[in-house]
């Protein structure tokens, strides 16, 4: 057997991920078929729900917004060789920044400034929640994977307690905060487009989507065009080399995780300021974990993250449609697809690489 040549760049970046994605979908299709439903009908229902029905596309982009934020959070940490599983908790705690900023500044701040302050607040709180595990890894040697998992549970406990106790809306039973002041709402896409004379169907899509696109650009500039980004990538490639090059590795670990947590915290902008207009229990709904699938599929690159987020946005929105159309398959199907994608695009990412390489080199010679 000849030595397996490394894959050409286009195959590694586009073809291989596509094969992995197809395998993941294929297996999910088999599960649907075994349950006794037609996988193609299910797929058609999901596509219609995600793009065709009125408001479908809006909801798809609304979910996409969430996944861009959490995907960026995971990708930022990945570039420094860190695995941040704590996006869920960081996104959850981010809402406290919004509550704090809105209650402090709402009485005298104009709406635009208030929105900006709330955005900063959510990123700051997310960053702080990520800073503790980062500090513990950098200075005390505890492993970030384990600590961020534990910090998710701590966030659930903390928020559960706050929303059922100190922050609960007075005279209410359900664990949720009081509504945000009007000025801290993120404008709806429908309202903004209406102002320009474009009519779209109502959905939860709001201006956070623009913020997410800005975040993608900021991420690209930060990682590939700044000194800090270079240091982050150096630490990710080889910590020892980074140390010898005079990079303060501990500092970079802490900063990277804070940027990562900041991106995760922004999810609260979409959910709290854009959609719910208050903090409700468990509003993160697993979006933080989906961010891991997004980052793996998107290969930690902004373009990849955008398309992976769009795919997951469509899956989430299309998945809700499954509930209406089928009795035997529900939106839990999306969890299965997500798990398969993490398995094939993450853990088994290079399973098909030798085979593909052999086929390609045979075709070439």
């Amino acid at each position: 057997m000849s030595v397996v040549k490394p894959l050409p760049r286009w195959a590694d970046l586009i073809f291989l991920p596509l094969i992995n994605l197809c395998v993941a979908f294929f297996i999910c299709g088999i599960v649907v078929w075994m349950i006794g439903e037609n996988p193609f009908t299910a797929l058609a229902v999901m596509i219609k729900g995600a793009f065709v029905y009125p408001g479908g596309l809006g909801y798809t982009l609304y979910y996409t917004t969430n996944f861009i934020f959490t995907g960026l959070a995971v990708a930022t940490a990945f570039h420094a060789g860190l695995f941040n599983i704590g996006g869920e908790g960081q996104a959850y705690v981010g809402s406290l920044g919004i509550l704090a900023a809105s209650s402090m500044f709402a009485p005298f701040m104009p709406a635009l400034l208030l929105v900006l302050l709330c955005i900063v607040g959510s990123a700051l709180l997310g960053a702080l929640w990520a800073m503790i595990p980062a500090y513990l890894q950098a200075k005390r040697g505890s492993h970030i994977v384990i600590t961020t998992i534990m910090f998710n549970f701590l966030a659930f406990s903390l928020m559960g307690w706050l929303l059922a106790g100190p922050l609960i809306q007075p005279n209410q039973q359900s664990p949720q905060s009081s509504p945000l002041p009007e000025g801290a709402h993120m404008p709806k896409a429908q309202a903004v487009l209406d102002w320009f004379g474009v009519g779209i169907a109502d959905s939860l899509l709001n201006m956070s989507f623009i913020l997410a696109l800005v975040a993608l650009a900021v991420f690209w500039v930060l990682i590939w065009k700044t000194r800090l980004g270079f240091e982050i990538r150096t630490v990710g490639k080889n910590q020892d080399a980074a140390l010898y090059a005079g990079i303060n590795v501990s500092k970079i670990i802490i900063i990277t995780m804070m940027v990562s947590g900041g991106f995760a915290g922004l999810l609260a902008v979409n959910e709290v300021m854009g959609a719910q207009h208050r903090v409700v229990l468990n509003y993160t709904a697993g979006y933080g974990f989906t961010g891991i699938a997004v980052a793996l599929m998107g290969r930690n690159h902004p373009v990849g993250i955008f398309f992976a987020s769009l795919l997951f946005g469509a899956l989430f929105q299309g998945g809700t449609e499954l509930d209406f159309e089928f009795t035997s398959i529900t939106r839990d199907m999306v969890l299965l697809i997500q798990g398969m994608i993490i398995l094939f695009s993450g853990a088994l990412a290079y399973m098909f690489s030798p085979t593909l390489s052999r086929i390609l080199s045979r075709g070439g010679s």
């Binding site: 349950i35 005390r140 505890s142 998992i149 406990s157 969890l335 299965l336």
Partner: protein, 322 residues
């Protein structure tokens, strides 16, 4: 006084019940992690074990068949984990995460397809479950003060699987520290190249460690759904796999210490429900959320070297390449 004695006894009794799945999963985690494989997939294996046990028992009517099916399902998950991170040298955390998400999706999808009850399985009859066993002489001895009630309330009256879990701890300790297989298993988690150069297969050793872990997790899952509970409900494992992982770390990757950590975490859980609405002198009422978060807080403090020094297996998380 008598009242307090019985209160304490019942709390310890509840501790044992809560700790049982933790103990089994922690032993599973020790085998896997001592062989060098990070195992955050304990949660997913526990969940799939719980589902398969309840589903198969509901279909066949036999708890034993359910138990063995659960063990099989968990082992299958272990093998998937092994295929990804031993055979294909994938990232162990990513693979574990995939298994956890797959388990939470698949259990609900299959549950709906099989039973059409929104992901739950039918409630099992009493004779289809592992019921509490009254140990020999428990009624007779009950008359003896102190020892009698301890024997009857605390030691007797648990399901078979609780005793299995308790037996697993010395068993795990024996395998790890007193057998050739255990020695090699510990070595492969520390210096795999040494094991390899001695002519022992690193991959096969690690696969075996994962399979043993799968068997333990399957029993733990069966305990949740066909012994402690009478059916499967979605997300039934509710983070117990992660608590068990915390116990593994807290126990410094050693069976007896991890067992101690499981009992401590179980105790925290058991007193949480008893402390609700109780005003302690000076402190006031402790929020239940704080009590439930304590295992994580303690583990983080331990990991950060504030209480003791953790000594994880040195080769953990690194795929082995020849």
């Amino acid at each position: 006084m008598i009242d307090f004695f019985y209160q304490a006894l019942w709390t310890l009794d509840a501790t044992l019940r809560v700790a049982t799945p933790l103990i089994l999963c922690a032993m599973a985690g020790i085998f896997s992690e001592r062989s060098g494989i990070v195992d955050i997939s304990l949660e997913g294996k526990l969940l799939s074990g719980a589902f398969v046990a309840a589903a198969v028992t509901a279909l066949t009517g036999s708890a034993w068949v359910g138990l063995f099916a659960a063990m099989g399902a968990s082992v299958a998950m272990s093998l998937l984990h092994g295929f990804a991170c031993i055979t294909h040298r994938g990232d162990q955390v990513v693979s574990g995460l995939a298994i956890n998400i797959l388990a939470s999706g698949l259990t609900v999808i299959l549950g709906i397809a099989l039973f059409k009850r929104g992901g739950q399985t039918p409630t099992l009859a009493a004779d289809e479950r592992f019921r509490p066993i009254e140990l020999w002489l428990s009624e007779t001895l009950n008359g003896i003060p102190v020892i009698g009630p301890i024997y009857k309330e605390l030691i007797s009256g648990h399901s078979l699987l609780v005793y299995v879990a308790l037996a697993c701890v010395p068993l795990a300790a024996f395998i790890l520290y007193r057998t050739r297989f255990g020695l090699r298993l510990r070595a492969v988690g520390e210096v795999p190249i040494a094991v390899d150069s001695a002519g022992v297969s690193v991959a096969w050793l690690r696969y075996r460690a994962l399979i043993i872990g799968g068997l333990f997790c399957g029993i733990a899952g069966a305990y949740l759904s066909i012994s402690h509970g009478a059916n499967f409900v979605r997300e039934m494992s509710a983070g117990k796999g992660y608590i068990a992982l915390a116990a593994v770390i807290f126990g410094n990757w050693r069976p007896w210490r991890a067992f101690g950590a499981c009992l401590m975490f179980g105790f925290l859980d058991a007193i949480t429900s008893r402390m609700q609405g109780v005003d302690l002198p000076l402190i006031g009422e402790i929020p239940g959320q704080l009590m439930l978060a304590l295992p994580y807080i303690l583990t983080i403090l331990l990991l950060s070297g504030f209480i003791g020094r953790p000594s994880p297996p040195s080769a953990i998380g690194q795929p082995y390449r020849k």
